[in-house]
Symmetry: C2
Subunit: 143 residues, 2 copies
DNA sequence: TACTCTTGTTGGTAATACCAACTAGCCGTG
DNA sequence: CACGGCTAGTTGGTATTACCAACAAGAGTA
């Protein structure tokens, strides 16, 4: 176990804090989703489709899920009128998934509620601290 | 919508970073869990029981899940020999859930792998930055 | 044209999680 | 002491999530 390369004791502190914060964050997300009768994954799909229109495969890759899982998710969301499957003119097998008007509104509401739910936590920080936290967090996954 | 109290634009930045980081973190946790044929929740149960022995109700409250959900989780984990139900001498209906030897080892291995999986991200930060990040994260939920 | 790869769906299974209903044990009042 | 109410866990039923394997249909290439 290559000492000097494993997680040092200082790192453990960060890792713990990160995991704890992540669970709290996920809790907020899950609660917001549940308030609209959505699962966390469905809320995530809406959030993704808010910016990009995506194919089934892209959604699967982005979420790290099997394509067949996406089929089911999109099925149910489509039945609820949140999104729509659109044929891809460039590729007969491919499909584009796009939000409906209702889906767009729901995605916006959800995003706002997530922000609101987390604001309670974030408000404990000063503006400068908040910015520093954001920077540090972003640097985590952009080495 | 009550300006001055809602999520300001500066906050949005943090919220986004936090949500992104949380999903990455959860991804690591889920992968570690899956490597041991555990769900994320089961890994969490092991992590909790590593420190405290708990009743079913405490587990449910801590995880924010229904008691019946815990019954099933504990059922399966017990069948796998990871933990054990122990009668509570002080309360005939209550039950204590404790890790077995195997469960303790698995919890330790899991924790180590989570730390290792996240170390890759955290290593991009200096020791001082890491400490600052940990402090800021902890202050999020301890106002 | 024939072969292969990709895209998405279907069918089958296990696990997660909920609710409602239930059992069993605790506890306070009368 | 007995009775009603409360708490702790379990059970049964259902919907959803997610996987894998097998498939149909289109795209691309030899």
């Amino acid at each position: 176990m290559a000492p000097g390369q494993g997680a040092g004791s200082a790192d453990l502190e960060v890792v713990d804090a990160l995991v704890r914060a992540s669970f709290v964050t996920m809790g907020v997300l899950t609660k917001v989703a549940a308030a609209h009768d959505l699962s966390l994954t469905q809320l995530r799909v809406l959030a993704i489709l808010r910016d990009h229109r995506a194919t089934m495969g892209e959604l699967a890759a982005y979420l790290g899920l099997d394509r067949s899982t996406i089929s089911g998710l999109v099925d149910r969301a489509e039945k609820r009128g949140l999104l729509q499957r659109v044929a891809n003119p460039d590729d007969g097998r491919g499909i584009h998934v796009v939000l409906t008007e209702v889906g767009v509104r729901l995605a916006a509401t959800g995003a706002a509620q997530v922000a609101e739910g987390l604001a309670a936590s974030v408000n404990g920080l000063s503006a400068a601290e908040a910015r520093r936290l954001a920077t540090l967090l972003d640097r985590l996954h952009a080495p």
